[in-house]
């Protein structure tokens, strides 16, 4: 992976036409939007080179409860290793469906999803856990076990995939140091603040060092100050080479960080933009 932007940009634009199939007029307004904001120099935006780690190929998802209103409608996009991506959209726009399909909680009705060259639509059920070991997941409601300590909560993720006690003893304190909770190993989740709980949940998601980290509204329950801390943490994780996908409502965060933004609106992909902004109702 190289940081030479001058070489990367044309290549990316050339690919734009095919891979990111967002409607042209919408992209125009979006680029005008980002032109109105100060251009930030972000040096470490990774190159979209090599083969994509995630490919959505004309993916449509229709839930049986709402047969006339697809949750996702003909989505095609590609995500490359090392990218930091915001997935934005209103409630019900299909963000959560997008993420649930990525970890194969649900299968697409039409189209194909490829993660690391493997087709999720034809993947055998017994292989799904091995897919999920390569995708860390963080949720708005933390999903921590209340009767376990911070250390045990993070260790649990390694325990249940059969890691040895030695690996757990070395890896868990290390990852907790990374998220800044090295002093709270023996606290229980209800003794922690919301931000700290989310850090524990991030630690649990990355303790197995997955190449992809998916966050569904990680800052939805947190105040702006704490949210910034969480985003800094996600950015640091991204810098270690982990691909990070964040579904969020947090306008300020998206506008400040100027990373790739994928916007969904009622199941349609309306915008896919590098160094983008939140962009709704402006």
């Amino acid at each position: 992976m190289t940081n030479d932007t001058s070489q990367g940009v044309p290549a990316r634009q050339a690919r734009r036409g095919g891979a990111h199939a967002a409607p042209a007029p919408v992209r125009q307004t979006a680029s005008q939007l980002s032109a109105s904001l100060p251009v930030l120099e972000v040096d470490d935006i990774p190159q979209q080179t090599g083969t994509p780690v995630i490919t959505f190929d004309h993916v449509t998802k229709v839930y049986p409860a709402q047969p006339n209103k697809p949750a996702l409608n003909d989505i095609s996009l590609q995500i490359y290793a090392g990218e930091f991506i915001f997935l934005v959209g209103h409630s019900g726009s299909g963000k959560s469906t997008f993420i649930r399909m990525l970890i194969r909680e649900v299968k697409p009705t039409q189209g194909h999803i490829y993660v690391a060259d493997e087709d999720l639509t034809t993947m055998r059920n017994w292989r799904v856990p091995y897919l999920r070991r390569n995708i860390g997941c963080v949720f708005q409601d933390f999903k921590l076990l209340p009767n376990k300590t911070v250390f045990e909560n993070v260790a649990f993720a390694l325990e249940v995939i059969g890691k040895s006690r030695h690996v757990i003893k070395t890896q868990v304190p290390e990852v907790l140091r990374l998220v800044g909770l090295q002093d709270k190993l023996n606290k229980r989740p209800d003794q922690l603040s919301g931000g700290e709980q989310q850090r524990v949940s991030i630690a649990r998601a990355i303790v197995n060092r997955p190449p992809l980290l998916v966050c569904d509204e990680p800052t939805g329950n947190l105040d702006p100050q704490t949210s910034r801390g969480i985003m800094d943490l996600l950015e640091r994780i991204n810098r270690t080479g982990t691909t990070v996908l964040v579904a969020t409502h947090d306008r300020e965060m998206v506008d400040n960080m100027r990373r790739r933004v994928i916007a969904l609106d009622r199941g349609h992909l309306t915008r896919d933009q590098d160094r983008g902004v939140y962009g709704f109702d402006v």
Binding site: I103, P129, R132
Partner: protein
């Protein structure tokens, strides 16, 4: 191997989590397996009796009190000439009473007041039990026997083992049907109990399960503790049943043999061990199947 220890640890937690339902499923498994065991042992005893009767099939041809010795000798000679007959003996009235006295309590004989209602009989031992119908028919068709017979019909005059065997068979058939119905019902109840216990265990751990799925625990790893819990309950239940049956074998069976001397309770230890093994295996199957059913319905992996 470490995950096996984890399964055991997690399944043991089920005891403290839902003590009442856990005990419920253990007790139902215990009861159903014990009843199955009792029926199996009972079946073996009946089998013993039936085969005993079959092996010593003999025909008793009752003879009227006023029959002359010449006629009796004639019939005896005739019967000796039949195919499949091993020996022919004559039992007179006095002897019949003596035989009756030896196998029954003296009260009945005292109540007879010195009278003797028992008929004399020609006893035919057969070398081949298969020929019993044929020999009995031949005796009945003999014209001399027709004159000295005691009783109006063939079944009144001629008693032979086959009838006892048939009676036993109808009896054992009824017992068998009732037993099978009872066992099926009990197994069903045991499965429902296990199903319910495992369902509660799954509900109690649904948060953990959600996280396990999220971080990529394999399906076997998620299911393991629940299968183990079902199997553990079944194992405890079946071991209890085996223990009680062993206790019954050592205490109740000799007493029962003493009270019912005409039945043979002589079932070999090997047979018992076989029954015990079958019970434990059946219990494990019930437990695993019950928890598998619960997981199918309540545990999405």
């Amino acid at each position: 191997m470490s995950s096996f220890a984890y399964f055991i640890r997690e399944s043991l937690k089920g005891f403290t989590r839902n003590l009442s339902t856990t005990l419920g499923s253990i007790v139902t498994i215990f009861l159903s397996l014990m009843i199955i065991g009792v029926f199996l042992v009972g079946g073996l005893v009946i089998e013993n009796v039936v085969s005993g009767v079959e092996n010593e099939v003999s025909i008793a041809a009752y003879v009227a009190d006023d029959a002359s010795q010449a006629d009796i000798d004639k019939v005896e000679d005739y019967v000796r000439g039949l195919e499949g007959v091993a020996s022919v003996t004559f039992t007179d009235k006095e002897q019949a009473l003596e035989n009756f006295r030896s196998s029954n309590t003296t009260d009945i004989i005292d109540a007879l007041d010195g009278q003797n209602p028992l008929p004399a009989s020609i006893n035919v031992e057969l070398s081949d039990p298969q020929l019993v119908e044929q020999v009995a028919g031949a005796i009945w068709d003999n014209s001399t026997y027709q004159q000295i017979r005691d009783g109006e019909t063939k079944s009144e005059s001629l008693k032979y083992g086959q009838q006892t065997v048939e009676k036993l068979f109808t009896l054992t058939n009824y017992v068998r049907y009732i037993g099978i119905a009872l066992i099926a019902l009990l197994i069903f109840i045991a499965m429902v109990f296990i199903n319910n216990t495992i369902r509660l265990a799954i509900l109690a751990r649904r948060k953990e399960i959600a996280i396990m799925r999220l971080v990529g625990a394999s399906n076997g790893f998620i299911r393991g503790p629940f299968l183990m819990e079902g199997a553990l309950h079944a194992l405890i239940g079946s071991l209890l049943a085996v223990g009680v049956l062993e206790l019954l074998r050592n205490t109740a069976l000799p007493k029962l043999q003493g009270a019912l001397p005409f039945l043979s309770f002589d079932v070999s230890l090997n047979m018992f061990l076989l029954i015990y093994a079958a019970l434990v295996v059946a219990g494990l199957l019930i437990g695993l199947l019950g928890s598998a059913l619960a997981m199918r319905r309540y545990l999405k992996v």
